[in-house]
C-alpha cells in the first residue's frame, strides 16, 4: 500500500487536473512573536475529483488547520490554493463565500448546529439567503434527513438529539446546497461506535454518488477506509498512501 511521499494524490497515469491543489501551504499563528505557532508548514498536495481523502495524524498535527485552509475557512500565511485550477488564495471574502456556498459542504467536529432551531431548520439554514421558499427549504431538509435516517427527528432541536444524530443533521446541512466536496473535521470524535459505522456508510454512499470526501481524523477506522491518506506530523506532510479502492 505504501508508495512513498509525494505531493500528488493520484496514482494512475491518466493526466487529470486535480480539483484542489495546495502549494507550499503554511499557516502560522502569532507570526513573528515569541509565541508563534506554525500549525501547518510547507504542505503541498493534490486532491482529485471523487476521491475519499483522509488527513491523518495525532492531535496537534495540523489536520484541522489544513482542512480550514483547503476549505477556504481560513487564509494561509504562505503558499497557494488552487480550486478547479484557479488560484483562490487572494479571493475576496465574497468570492470565498460563493465557493463555500456552491462547492463545499462542512461537517464540524462539534457539529456547530444552532441551538433552539429544529433539525430541519438547521439543515435548511444555508438556503435562507438564497431566496428559497420555506416550503422548498423544508422539503429539501426533509429529503436529506429522511435519507440519513432522521425522518422522525425533523422537529427536534439539537439538544434533543444524540451525538450521532446531531452529526447526521450536520451532514445533511453540509449537503443541502449540493456541494461537490464534503469536508468533515474529526467526524468520529463526538459519536459512539454504532454511529461511526453509520457515518462510514454515509460517507461511502456520498462518495459513490460522485462527491469528493475530505476527512481529517486520528481514528484508525476512518484511516482504513481512505483512498488517499495524507499523514501529518507536527504540521508537516510526512507521507501519502493509497487505499485498496484507489
Amino acid at each position: 500500500m505504501e508508495k512513498g511521499p509525494t505531493i500528488t494524490g493520484r496514482t494512475d497515469e491518466v493526466k487529470m487536473e486535480p480539483i484542489l491543489r495546495a502549494e507550499n501551504l503554511s499557516k502560522w499563528y502569532n507570526a513573528g512573536r515569541p509565541d508563534e505557532v506554525r500549525a501547518v508548514e510547507d504542505i503541498s498536495l493534490e486532491i482529485y475529483e471523487n476521491q475519499y481523502v483522509v488527513l491523518y495524524g495525532p492531535s496537534g498535527s495540523g489536520k484541522t488547520t489544513l482542512l480550514s485552509l483547503i476549505g477556504t475557512l481560513d487564509r494561509p500565511t504562505r503558499g497557494q490554493i488552487f480550486l478547479y485550477g484557479r488560484d483562490i488564495t487572494e479571493f475576496s471574502d465574497l468570492e470565498l463565500s460563493r465557493i463555500r456556498r456552491q462547492t463545499m459542504g462542512f461537517v464540524f467536529q462539534s457539529f456547530n448546529l444552532f441551538s433552539g432551531l429544529s433539525a430541519w431548520e438547521n439543515v435548511s439554514y444555508p438556503l435562507i439567503p438564497m431566496g428559497v421558499t420555506t416550503t422548498d427549504r423544508f422539503e429539501r431538509a426533509k429529503f436529506l434527513l429522511e435519507r440519513l435516517g432522521l425522518g422522525d427527528r425533523l422537529d427536534h432541536s439539537p439538544e434533543e438529539l444524540s451525538g450521532g444524530e446531531q452529526q447526521r443533521v450536520a451532514i445533511a446541512r453540509a449537503l443541502v446546497n449540493h456541494p461537490h466536496i464534503l469536508i468533515a473535521d474529526e467526524p468520529t470524535s463526538n459519536i459512539d461506535t454504532d454511529s461511526v459505522e453509520r457515518l462510514l456508510e454515509i460517507l461511502t454512499g456520498l462518495k459513490e454518488e460522485g462527491k469528493t470526501i475530505i476527512v481529517s481524523s486520528h481514528d484508525p477506522v476512518i484511516k482504513s477506509r481512505a483512498e488517499v491518506l495524507f499523514t501529518l506530523v507536527r504540521g508537516r506532510l510526512k507521507g501519502i498512501s493509497y487505499g485498496e479502492n484507489e
Binding site: 488547520t65 480550514s68 475557512l73 481560513d74 487564509r75 471574502d93 465574497l94 463565500s97 460563493r98 463555500r100 456556498r101 456552491q102 462542512f106 464540524f108 456547530n112 444552532f114 441551538s115 433552539g116 432551531l117 431548520e121 439554514y125 444555508p126 435562507i128 439567503p129 438564497m130 431566496g131 428559497v132 421558499t133 420555506t134 446541512r173 453540509a174 446546497n177
Partner: protein
C-alpha cells in the same frame, strides 16, 4: 452590499425574528435596556408636547392683543384710562383689564390673577364650588388647596398684604396644569392686593376676527416708522405670543434632546464596553454562518432586521409604558422629573400628547443604538475568517 430580492428579504426577516426568539434571553435584556433608554425620552416629549398644546389652546382662546405700558423696555402696569380709549378703535369688540402677579402663599410661590367681575362666571365649569361674587372672595388652584388643606369657605390672608382677608368660594379643577398654583380673584381685589389702584397689568383686546389687522395696524404698525402713534405702549398679538411659546418649547425640547442623547450615548457605550453581552455566542454564530455559505452582506442584512425588530418592539413598549403612566396613572413618580413643582403623586392632571414625530425620533435613536451595538460589531467580526470566529 447586494440588494436583497423580495423573497430573500422575507427569508432574512423571518430568520431575524426567529433568531430573536431563539436568543430570547439576550433579546429580552437588550429590549429592556432600550426601553429604559427610550422611556424617558418618549415621556418627556409627550409631556412637553402636552404642555405646549395646552398653552397654545389657552392662548388661542385668549385675547387678540395684550397691551401693557412700556417701563424701561419691560412690561409695566397700564392705566385703566386706556380701556375706554382702546375700546373706541375700529374692529375692537371688547377690552378687558387683567391683573397678573406673583406672591407667596406661605412658602409657595403662586400666581395671582384678577379678573373683571363679568369674566368670572365663565370659570364656573372649571370650579368646584362657586365663582367669586363679592369683594374678598377667591378661587384657589388644586395644588395650593391640597398643600395647605384649604376647604371652600375657609378665610385666609397672605403675608404680602396681611390686612386683606380672603375667603375661598371654590377650588379650580385639576384639569389644567396652569391652574394648580393659581389664585383667581376680582380685579378690584387684585388692584388692592398689589397696590396698583387705577391700573391693570394688562389690557386684553378682543376683536372681530376679520378686524384684527385693522386694530393691529394703528397700535403696532405706525404709518410713519419714525413716529410711532402710541410709543409708550407694548402690544403683543396672539400669534406673536404663540410663536414665542413654540420657540420656547422647541428651545427647551432641543436642549433636553441634546443633553439626553449625550447622556444616553455615554451610557450605551459604557454598557457595550462593560457588558460584552452575548458577543462570544454571536461571534461563533457569525463564523458558522460564514462557513455554511452566508455572505457578509446577508448576515448584516439579517442582523440589521433584528435591530429594526428589536427597536420597534422596544419603542412600542416604551410608548405603551409611558402612556400607561402618564394617562392611566397621571404621571405618578415620573412627572416630577419633567414638570416643575409637581410631587411624586401629581395633584393636577399632567397633560401629554404623543405625536408620530416623537415615535420617529425614538425609532431613530433606538436604531442608532442597536445598529452601532449590533451591526457594527457584527461587521467587524465578519471581517475575520470563519475558522478564527469558530475557534
Amino acid at each position: 452590499m447586494d440588494l436583497p430580492r423580495p423573497l430573500i428579504f422575507k427569508n432574512l426577516l423571518f430568520a431575524a425574528c426567529g433568531d430573536l426568539i431563539r436568543h430570547r434571553g439576550r433579546s429580552f435584556v437588550v429590549t429592556l435596556c432600550l426601553v429604559a433608554i427610550l422611556f424617558p425620552l418618549v415621556t418627556a416629549l409627550a409631556i412637553s408636547e402636552g404642555l405646549r398644546f395646552q398653552a397654545e389652546i389657552s392662548i388661542g382662546e385668549g385675547a387678540d392683543f395684550y397691551v401693557s405700558e412700556d417701563r424701561y423696555g419691560g412690561n409695566g402696569p397700564i392705566s385703566l384710562d386706556y380701556q375706554s380709549k382702546l375700546s373706541g378703535l375700529q374692529g375692537v369688540s371688547r377690552v378687558m383689564s387683567r391683573v397678573v402677579g406673583r406672591t407667596y402663599f406661605v412658602d409657595r410661590l403662586i400666581a395671582v390673577v384678577g379678573l373683571e367681575p363679568e369674566a368670572l362666571p365663565a370659570l364656573k365649569p372649571l370650579v368646584r364650588g362657586e365663582v367669586p361674587k363679592a369683594p374678598g372672595e377667591v378661587l384657589l388652584g388644586q395644588g395650593i388647596a391640597r398643600a395647605f388643606k384649604i376647604q371652600v369657605g375657609m378665610p385666609f390672608s397672605l403675608g404680602a398684604n396681611p390686612h386683606k382677608t380672603f375667603k375661598v368660594t371654590g377650588i379650580l379643577s385639576p384639569a389644567c396644569l396652569w391652574s394648580s398654583d393659581l389664585m383667581v380673584m376680582g380685579h378690584r381685589d387684585a388692584n388692592e392686593f398689589f397696590r396698583i389702584k387705577g391700573f391693570s397689568t394688562q389690557l386684553l383686546i378682543y376683536t372681530s376676527s376679520d378686524s384684527s389687522p385693522l386694530v393691529g395696524k394703528p397700535l403696532i404698525g405706525p404709518s410713519d416708522p419714525g413716529r410711532p402713534q402710541v410709543p409708550h405702549l407694548r402690544v403683543e398679538d396672539r400669534y406673536h405670543i404663540q410663536e414665542r411659546v413654540r420657540a420656547a418649547f422647541a428651545h427647551k425640547g432641543g436642549i433636553f434632546i441634546i443633553l439626553y442623547i449625550i447622556v444616553a450615548t455615554l451610557a450605551i457605550q459604557a454598557f457595550l464596553i462593560t457588558s460584552g453581552f452575548g458577543l462570544r455566542a454571536m461571534e461563533k454564530e457569525i463564523g458558522v454562518m460564514k462557513a455554511i455559505g452566508w455572505r457578509t452582506s446577508e448576515m448584516l442584512g439579517k442582523i440589521g432586521l433584528e435591530c429594526l425588530a428589536i427597536s420597534l418592539t422596544a419603542l412600542s413598549s416604551a410608548i405603551l409604558l409611558s402612556m400607561a403612566l402618564t394617562r392611566g396613572l397621571n404621571g405618578i413618580l415620573i412627572a416630577q422629573f419633567f414638570v416643575a413643582e409637581v410631587g411624586l403623586v401629581p395633584e393636577v392632571d399632567i397633560p401629554s400628547r404623543y405625536l408620530p414625530l416623537h415615535g420617529l425620533l425614538g425609532l431613530a435613536l433606538a436604531l442608532c443604538i442597536t445598529l452601532s451595538g449590533g451591526l457594527l460589531s457584527a461587521w467587524r467580526k465578519a471581517q475575520r475568517s470563519p475558522a478564527e470566529l469558530m475557534r
